[in-house]
């Protein structure tokens, strides 16, 4: 009677958004070719339809709209080129969009082509100019430096050193070598053929190798002079500034000359002739300088012109980029459609949420109307063999929690969604491990800052770490709130207890409090109203008391959460109409868990309420070892022994119950269905081809008993062993919370209090700094992370393995919003 009422109640429950994924429909679109493009782009704006690729067997260039896709690719290449150019020119591509009428794609293509040609022309012009400018500049430097080598020879007319000495000097100081030069120069002005020189300029990084090569090629019969150039010269290709060195090589002989010239060429050294005559030199220098200044002016004008052109492109660059990206997405989607037999219509298939059908229909009508098409777009629902995608409508708040669940696996279509419960249980379990209201307030501030600056932060690009933090800001908020709550229960504020809810229930036996650690305190009034009594702090029995409390609490929380998981498996089975799972999986599972650990939880509660001294370990262990023995002083309530025997028997029965019946019943059903026919249905090869990998299609007709049985066996064993190990796993709640409180105690007592004990401002400040750093980095960051990970594990493994399949696939609608997001 009660059951029936429950069923009635459950059946009449309103479906809730996040409990199960949205109902999806498999739809077919038949779009006349003339309105196809518009229809698809409207659908992209709507973003509620996921297209199926009907041409998966075709390679990309065999598809219908390959040319358009290529054109879009070409256009985006041009746009990238513009962007690159703009960045190189150091202009900022202004983000403020200029309102201009939408341009057609064809127009845009032409426009882009023009811009590109213009730019390339300007670039090549300015490159030419730059090159001649560079040449002149280099020439100027060579003149200045090389003339220095040559001219100095005249001024130092008398240098009476031996050649040997000068050779020694020449290695380390080129200023000295000039005197060697001048000797030689003086000796040869009459016979021109004897000693000649080549002057030029070479990148500084190559000088040493260049000199060595020259030395080898001429067998040492040369003299190499070098001086660093004053200015850096821009490399026209990489547009980087290169340091260069001016050199002058003196040699003799025609053969050496060709060799040296070849080497110069090979090393990329530019040679410039420097006349020996001083007046000529002056004249050329003047010429070069005047031409340089001319060129500089031209170059500047060119660059200004180019920058203007780039700036005008830059205004619209973002808009164009988005547009091209959208167009490309539209054509990519169109490529997924099939032409029908008449070649006049495109046929598309896809998934949409059932609630969106009206919207899509309306959009399609608008598209038909806007493109003046005679024929409307046909939109109808079809049957699908593969399982639909999973789609949850989330908001800013629930999204992060859904992500936590999805990271483990995307829910099967219409499966119970653990994210609903995760919203509360996740931050709570986190807080159990992170219970400290001081730390909780710090976390809360961080979360509030993130939330307060939400609108600003969401628009800008963040680093990967900040992005993660920002994405989980609401998780962080709840975690902080629950930490404060749990911290109040543990009565810890940076590990210091406070008398917030009135005075302690304990006091010392005498006024001196000398025996507080030996004899303990005395209880003199009602228990502390909320949380842990502050007097436990620092007492002899602090640890045993808190450990016992936290350990038991962990088990209670764990058993509760695991029961929730099993109950969800009931709702799953009910929803999918699988009574077999309810009877032979859910019922024995819940019996098994509750007979063992449910009973333990009961004992814990009774012990807490009655204040009994019974040893629960003993009770649990001897419940298995000798269930018929007398419990003695460990008896908590009347009739405990027969109850234990009953529970034990139930648990023992539950094991074969979940193991055996299900596979045999499945086998029976299977043989009944085919009524002893030995022939199976011929698998149509067509159907097999459609099968998408990963889609959970439920028409496996061949039934393999041994496989099913082994599967069931694995499941049962896993559950039975898991019941024990998962319960033990929840003890991590205790362990981590203990670690957290001990760690913060250490930092408080051994760092802050210790430093405060000295009467020295510096030591105090240092102590404060160390304490602050330790709190911020170790307790707030690392402990948060570790508690987060442990809470994550408890949800993924201990909670979700009871009911969650997680083998679905996500609904990825074709939407412009997601396309513009995931660039850069």
């Amino acid at each position: 009677m009660v059951l029936e009422k429950m069923e009635m109640f459950l059946d009449n429950l309103q479906p809730m958004d996040l409990m199960r994924s949205e109902k999806m429909s498999f739809v077919q679109l038949i779009i006349p070719a003339e309105s196809a493009h518009r229809a698809i782009s409207y659908l992209g704006e709507l973003g509620l339809l996921q297209f199926r690729d009907l041409n998966a067997d075709k390679s990309p260039f065999q598809r219908t709209f390959v040319n358009q896709v290529k054109r879009c690719g070409e256009m985006s290449r041009k746009l990238r080129f513009f962007k690159d150019q703009i960045n190189k020119a150091g202009l900022l591509s202004s983000a403020h969009p200029v309102i201009e009428p939408d341009v057609e794609l064809e127009e845009l293509e032409i426009q882009l082509g023009e811009h590109e040609n213009e730019l390339i022309e300007m670039n090549s012009n300015s490159e030419k100019l730059q090159q001649s400018y560079n040449e002149l500049l280099e020439f100027k430097m060579v003149l200045q430096k090389a003339v220095g080598f040559l001219v100095s020879s005249n001024s130092h007319a008398v240098a009476e050193e031996t050649e040997l000495n000068e050779n020694v000097y020449s290695n380390d100081d080129y200023g000295e070598t000039t005197s060697l030069l001048e000797q030689e120069l003086r000796s040869v002005p009459s016979n021109q053929s004897g000693l000649r020189f080549i002057s030029g300029i070479i990148p500084r990084s190559k000088v040493v190798r260049f000199e060595r090569m020259l030395f080898r090629a001429t067998r040492g019969n040369m003299l190499f002079n070098q001086a660093p150039a004053d200015e850096e010269i821009m490399d026209p290709v990489s547009t980087e500034m290169v340091e260069k060195t001016v050199f002058v090589v003196f040699f003799s002989g025609e053969q050496a000359r060709t060799k040296i010239l070849k080497i110069c060429e090979a090393f990329g050294a530019n040679c410039y002739p420097v006349p020996e005559d001083v007046t000529k030199q002056r004249q050329i220098t003047r010429e070069v300088l005047s031409r340089l200044s001319e060129l500089e002016a031209t170059l500047d004008a060119g660059i200004r012109h180019r920058n203007k052109a780039l700036a005008s492109i830059g205004y619209q660059l973002t808009k164009w980029m988005n547009m091209v990206k959208r167009e490309k997405a539209v054509y990519d989607t169109l490529n997924m459609l099939n032409f029908d037999v008449t070649k006049k219509c495109l046929v598309g298939e896809g998934w949409c949420p059932s609630f969106a059908k009206a919207q899509i229909q309306e959009t399609l009508q608008r598209a038909t109307f806007d493109s003046n098409s005679q024929v409307g777009i046909i939109f109808h629902v079809m049957d699908a063999l593969e399982s639909p995608p999973t789609y949850f409508r989330t908001n800013r708040f629930t999204n992060a929690f859904q992500e936590i669940v999805d990271a483990y696996g995307v829910a099967r279509y219409e499966e119970a969604n653990p994210a609903v419960y995760t919203v509360v249980t996740f931050p709570f379990l986190f807080a159990v491990m992170f219970g400290d209201w001081g730390h909780g307030i710090c976390l809360l501030m961080g979360a509030l800052i993130l939330i307060a600056r939400e609108s600003k932060l969401s628009s800008q690009k963040l680093g990967s770490f900040m992005e993660m933090l920002f994405g989980g800001r609401y998780v962080l908020l709840l975690m902080a709130l629950f930490s404060i709550y749990c911290g109040l229960i543990y009565n810890e504020f940076f590990s210091v207890p406070f008398h917030i809810f009135g005075g302690s229930a304990y006091k010392c036996r005498d006024t001196t409090c000398s025996d507080a650690h030996i004899a303990g305190l005395m209880k003199y009034r009602d228990p502390y109203p909320f949380g842990v009594d502050p007097s436990w702090r620092g007492s002899r029995s602090e640890l045993p008391f808190l450990n016992s409390l936290k350990m038991k609490m962990s088990i209670l929380l764990g058993v509760a959460q695991m029961n929730l998981g099993i109950i969800l498996s009931y709702f799953n089975a009910r929803f999918f109409g699988n009574s077999l799972d309810i009877r032979y999986q859910f019922v024995p599972q819940i019996i098994f868990l509750n007979c063992l650990f449910g009973y333990l939880s009961l004992l814990i509660i009774i012990k807490w309420c009655s204040g009994s001294q019974a040893d629960l370990y003993h009770v649990m262990i001897y419940m298995f070892l000798s269930p018929t023995d007398d419990l003695g002083e460990n008896q908590l309530f009347w009739g405990q022994r027969p109850l234990q025997i009953l529970l034990l028997l139930l648990a023992l029965i539950a094991v074969p119950w979940m193991l055996l019946p299900k596979p045999f019943i499945l086998k029976k059903l299977h043989t009944e269905r085919f009524q002893g026919r030995t022939y199976g249905i011929l698998g149509t090869s067509e159907m097999d081809l459609d099968m998408e990998p990963g889609s959970a299609r439920s028409h496996h007709d061949d039934f393999n008993f041994s496989e099913v049985f082994v599967h069931q066996m694995i499941h049962s064993i896993e559950f039975v062993l898991g019941a024990v190990s998962n319960t033990a796993s929840y003890l991590r709640l205790w362990a981590l919370s203990l670690a957290h409180s001990e760690l913060s105690t250490v930092f408080y007592e051994k760092v802050l209090l210790l430093a405060w004990g000295y009467d020295n401002i510096i030591i105090r400040l240092v102590g404060l700094a160390v304490f602050a750093f330790a709190t911020a980095f170790i307790l707030l960051m690392m402990e948060t992370l570790s508690a987060f990970l442990h809470a994550l594990r408890l949800h993924w493994v201990e909670f979700q393995n009871k009911f969650y399949h997680g083998d679905g696939y996500k609904f990825k609608p074709f939407s412009f919003a997601s396309i513009t997001e995931d660039d850069d």
Partner: protein
Amino acid sequence: MYGFEALTFNIHGGYLEAIVRGHRSGLLTAADYNNLCQCETLDDIKMHLTATEYGPYLQNEPSPLHTTTIVEKCTLKLVDEYKHMLCQATEPLSIFLEYCTYGHMIDNVVLIVTGTLHERDVQELLEKCHPLGMFDSIATLAVAQNMRELYRLVLVDTPLAPYFSECITSEDLDDMNIEIMRNTLYKAYLEDFYRFCQKLGGATAEIMSDLLAFEADRRAVNITINSIGTELTRDDRRKLYSNFGLLYPYGHEELAVCEDLDQVRGVMEKYPPYQSIFSRLSYGESQLLDKAFYEEEVKRLCLSFEQQFHYAVFFAYMRLREQEIRNLMWISECVAQNQKSRVHDSVVFIF
């Protein structure tokens, strides 16, 4: 310490081995080749390649594409990967990686020297050089008139210097001399590489000696076939064979006296590993020999990935990538010249 590489290999080589295996899984698959072979224009090829790991290298190329651009960009990817690995590598592995490029270095030297002999422009020649075999003073090669100068001016600075000791003559450079120089250098290089790998020991030595022996034997066969009907004497020919490999020494004796292709075939069929290569060819046919050798090589290179904790994977990966680039070049050429029927002639699939 054969068999104990697993203990210590990952200290220095683990990261790079993971990298190289990752690169290897980025090689084009048979499905990719099938799609590429169906392409109608070079743009189609570009479009297909942008969906593969070559994407970032090709996507910024303006549309009228040339085969050379495709090959250049694909090679650039290999070079980038190689440089990255070389930067990360520590002592024995970095030397090993450098050894892998010496072959290209020899080819580049020969290319430049031959080019200057025929009075080609140096810059043009430099563009044709394989980027893996570049060294600093390569452009200066054009200055040299004979081998002695070649050595003294340029090559003494390069790692090729020790290999040169056998071929320094004062003779002027001509085509024949250069070809002999190339083979002598290659012989010295292979032997040196072989010794180096033996010194490394372990699985590296085992696998590399197999791969290098195959390389040496292939070169021996190619030298023999190419020198049939030239003025190269038997003794000179014998000298060009590397002193290791499956054919060493008895096979070399026999190869040295071969006068036509069928005699070579007769010699080679005595060696079981090469029997299958030659049995596929009909008599008197040598064009397909290259492809058959390449296929065998690819098979062996792929097999080297089956073992872990050795350096041969780096060698194998680079060879495989080069083969892939050759394939791409062939396919693009065929597509560009509308010779699609010949596409399959020279493509060696990598599995």
